[in-house]
Amino acid sequence: MWMSELPPFVIFFVAALLALAARGWLRAVMMLATPIVGGLHLWFGIPVGTLLSVPLLEFELVLVRADRLSLLFGYMFHIAALIAMIFALHVRERTQTVAGLLYAGSALGAVFAGDLITLFIFWELLAITSVFLIWARKTERAMRAGQRYLIIQVTSGVLLLAGALVHYHKNDSLAFDYIGLEGISGTLIFIAFGIKCAFPFLHNWLTDAYPEATPTGTVFLSAFTTKVAVYSLARGFPGTDILVYIGAAMTCFPIFYAVIENDLRRVLAYSMINQIGFMVCGVGIGTALALNGAVSHAFNDVIFKGLLFMSMGAVLYRTGEIRGSHLGGLYKTMPKTAILCIVGASSISAFPLFSGFVSKSMVMTAMIEEGYDYLWLMLLFASAGVFHHAGIKIPYFAFFAHDSGIRTQEAPRNMLIAMSLAAVLCIFIGSQPQYLYGLLPWEVDYWPYDTTHVLAQLQLLFFSALAFVWLNKAGLYPPELPSVNIDAEWLYRRLLPAGLRTTERGLMPAWQGFNAALSRQVNALTDFLLRHHGPSGTMARTWPTGSMALWVAVLLAVMVLVYYI
């Protein structure tokens, strides 16, 4: 008799409690067993249409609402949790294990939440549990980055709660279904989702905090938070037109930052925003094909981005170094990691037969079908950019390029197993996409490997070649990419920033003026608060008894006067 009444997150939370006490091999077994048991429970015990709710105040909190959309994300999180757990098996620190389990559990709670209050609770739990994965790095930078991360994430939750309240007042329902952008509630919830989804200008927490986490922590982080946000958007705002434009912006702007960034995990963080951009576009288009594309791309992204973060985590773990300029030549000592990293890089670049191809092409096709021609071009440009900064730059700088002289050893066995698992999945999904397509929430007859789609892929390659040629002519790019040497590296990291700086200088006076005005206002406000509310301010001082009594008299007089009128 299988307990189908058990919400999926409970297994993880209970395991986290037990992990507090367990140690050694017992804990290792538990870390591995949790996602496996949870996955089996989800696969066999929770059919489509399961509903489970508990009462709180006058509401029913819907803890489990299982339909094909939430189940797909549920499966995906279990796979991600399993891979991340294997990857983190060598970690002896209890905090990270417990935080990882709680974090994965919160993500499950959020995607199965059927009402906005439950969603809010897990939304905040995601923030609170994940920050420990950043703090576990124990550097000053990580502490600070974690605090900034927490503040932004909690703010997102507060906005969500405010939106939920207004939504409840307006519609007399807390159900988490289609919300739409209408009214203040829709906007508040949209911004809350947008923060977690790393919309442009709301994205800084991601590139700030993810690269500061521990090698294993980043793998966890990359899998859950943003994917929960994509799920929430797909649930609450499918077909919202503005998302297409936001998504297109998200695919393009990180490319420039990724190109000039030296910290390879930060490059991946930017590339993550770029990939989420494709999903957001898919959600924004809102057709069955586009939504399928968005969620299947989320599914694939968890695996291949996880693989890339794992390979960089392994490099960081072995060498203690993650700056592109200080790495290189590691293929000699970490050949297996290098090969696995290249598999991840091929997937993210959407090479045919790798997983990125089968999902990204769905979004692109849907875009053309719905007539977003210019945005489609932007996405093409972004695809080329991905190919460059994630497909080429990451493996190239870490494992090839100039030999940095670092001689280390192959990644630990558990890391290799985790990475191999992810790599196998990447190729399997890429070559046998029918299994993934069979799980997708909406009925769609789509097959990527036919003439038109191969043609589309050829166009993509052609376009990226064109981009190379154009950049070459404009003198912004090294003449030959594969033979980038230290001289050419200078172009990356000096010339491009210099170009950016020139533009920046042009805009500087206006920006400075705005900044100065803003900071004057903020300063004036802080001064006012400090003067009146600070430790020795009027409001906080100990008053003479006479003045206190005077206030009593004043208030009495006012009241009597007002009551007489």
Binding site: M539, M559, Y563
Partner: protein, 497 residues
């Protein structure tokens, strides 16, 4: 039937038991014995108030004629859902605080004075319970004075010399407040010739045109406002809370202002009736304006405080702002939110002050500087503080969420959007001041004092955690609080529109 004879006397016992035990404590002299007596009395009082509440819920209002003198002439104790609920708050808090107090008091107060501490605490307890159960306007004033006088003395027992000036200031302000209440009651007597609250409620609607009545209302509101620390009458409170002995701070912060709020509710909801209070005089509007200013201003002050007890004291004034916002709204949901917050704020603030008391017990200071790194040396204590802080902020699954939820709903009901946002903004401010403590205690390297500290003794830790788990329990299981508060709000808004 003995049991039914006892049941009939419960309203009197609620007050008489602690009243008699106070002088008994003086006779016992040995402070351990007095402590044990106080614990027993508090627990028995809790049982009594629980029985009374059950009786009220089952049979409706209880009227008890003191000494057999029938109502308008004799003193009547009149218990309905409103004061049964408040009595439960007071006795419940006392039952947890007094066991906690033993270790804390032995460290903070001179050996010879400990007996007096418990005696004063029992007297204060008597006064607060008397204010709660009595149905007589003058009797309420008498109990108000009993509780106030004993509170002044309790505060002056603080080891910090500033406790003396704080107690003195509170004495002056409290006396002014008491006098105002007396003047208000006097005016009411002049126009109606009665002191019984139910009787007053019958007669006042006949004389609504009289200015005397409005003046009485103003005096009563300001007088009680002083006791409940309504902004800007709160100035006595921060120092009194900050420098009193920790056990006294916990007890007074969690109960005294709550009972004063009850007295205010009783006057506006029962004696004057909601029609006079909200429609004849603009009490609601004034209360909301003062509440909002107090809420924001005191939250800002709390953010800048370096003494954690003083910070929590300012936060208390801010929280009273929430309660007044609910009262000022003149709607059933608003009053219900206020009544819920009475209960919930008592739980969270007592829990927080207890956690701070544990830290004080080990390091002898509550300055932020000295609390650096204390989260590592006293993990359980500090975890309790964080839980209390979450409740104060209003995180779901804690009591803070329940009352804020209803308060926001009450404001949305009336389409007062901006004020609903003020409530949420207030929550954000409390995130800041709670976070300041968390940041210092968890992320900074330990101060010399914190480095040497050990975990607080179990005798203090267990009561602290009982209260904080109650924060979670009543945050999830809201049947009792929401049910009774709803019923009480119903009673207080009868006749309104």
């Amino acid at each position: 039937m003995i049991s039914s004879a006892v049941t009939l006397q419960l309203p009197a016992l609620q007050v008489a038991l602690p009243l008699i035990s106070a002088p008994l404590g003086l006779l016992l002299r040995r402070h351990r014995l007095v402590w044990a007596l106080a614990v027993v009395v508090c627990w028995m009082s809790l049982a009594i108030s629980w029985l009374l509440l059950q009786q009220v819920l089952a049979e409706g209002t209880i009227s008890y004629a003191m000494g057999g003198w029938a109502a308008p002439w004799g003193i009547e104790y009149r218990i309905d859902a409103v004061n049964a609920y408040v009595a439960l708050i007071v006795t419940g808090i006392a039952s947890v605080v007094v066991p906690y107090a033993r270790r804390s008091v032995e460290q903070e107060i001179d050996e010879g004075r400990i007996t007096y501490f418990y005696v004063l605490l029992l007297l204060c307890f008597t006064g607060l319970l008397g204010m709660t159960v009595t149905g007589d306007a003058f009797n309420l004033f008498v109990f108000l004075e009993i509780s106030s006088l004993s509170t002044y003395a309790l505060i002056s027992l603080g080891r910090d010399r500033r406790a003396l000036t704080a107690a003195f200031q509170y004495l002056i302000m409290g006396t002014i407040g008491g006098t105002f209440v007396l003047i208000g009651v006097g005016f009411l007597y002049v126009v109606t010739g009665t002191l019984n609250m139910a009787d007053l409620a019958d007669r006042l609607p006949e004389v609504t045109q009289l200015r005397t009545l409005h003046t009485a209302f103003a005096f009563l509101v300001v007088g009680i406002g002083l006791k409940l620390a309504m902004f800007p009458l709160h100035l006595w409170l921060p120092n009194a809370y900050a420098y009193a002995p920790n056990a006294a701070t916990i007890f007074v912060a969690a109960t005294s202002t709550k009972v004063a709020v009850y007295a205010l509710l009783r006057y506006i909801g029962s004696v004057f009736g909601p029609v006079i209070s909200y429609e004849d005089v603009p009490f609601g509007e004034i209360a909301i304006i003062l509440a909002v200013i107090g809420l924001l201003s005191c939250s800002f002050v709390a953010i800048f405080q370096s003494n954690v007890k003083r910070m929590l004291a300012y936060s208390s004034v801010a929280q009273i702002g929430y309660i007044l916002m609910g009262i000022g709204l003149a709607s059933k949901t608003g009053l219900m939110a206020s009544l819920l917050h009475l209960f919930n704020h008592a739980l969270m603030k007592a829990g927080l002050f207890m956690a701070v008391g544990c830290m004080f017990y080990r390091i002898g200071s509550v300055r932020l500087d000295d609390l650096r790194g204390i989260g590592h040396s006293m993990p359980w204590t500090f975890a309790a503080f964080v839980l209390g802080g979450l409740s104060l902020i209003g995180v779901p699954l804690t009591v803070g969420f329940v009352s804020k939820w209803y308060l926001v709903l009450a404001y949305l009901e009336q389409d007062l959007w901006p004020l609903a946002f003020v409530i949420l903004f207030g929550s954000l401010l409390s995130v800041i001041y709670v976070w300041r403590v968390v940041e210092v205690a968890w992320f900074e390297s330990p101060s010399p004092r914190a480095a040497e500290a050990r975990e607080a003794p179990l005798a203090m830790l267990v009561p602290t955690w009982i209260l904080l788990l109650a924060n979670v329990f009543f945050g999830v299981q809201t049947e009792l609080t929401v049910g009774v508060a709803g019923l009480a709000a119903q009673i207080l808004t009868e006749g309104l529109r």
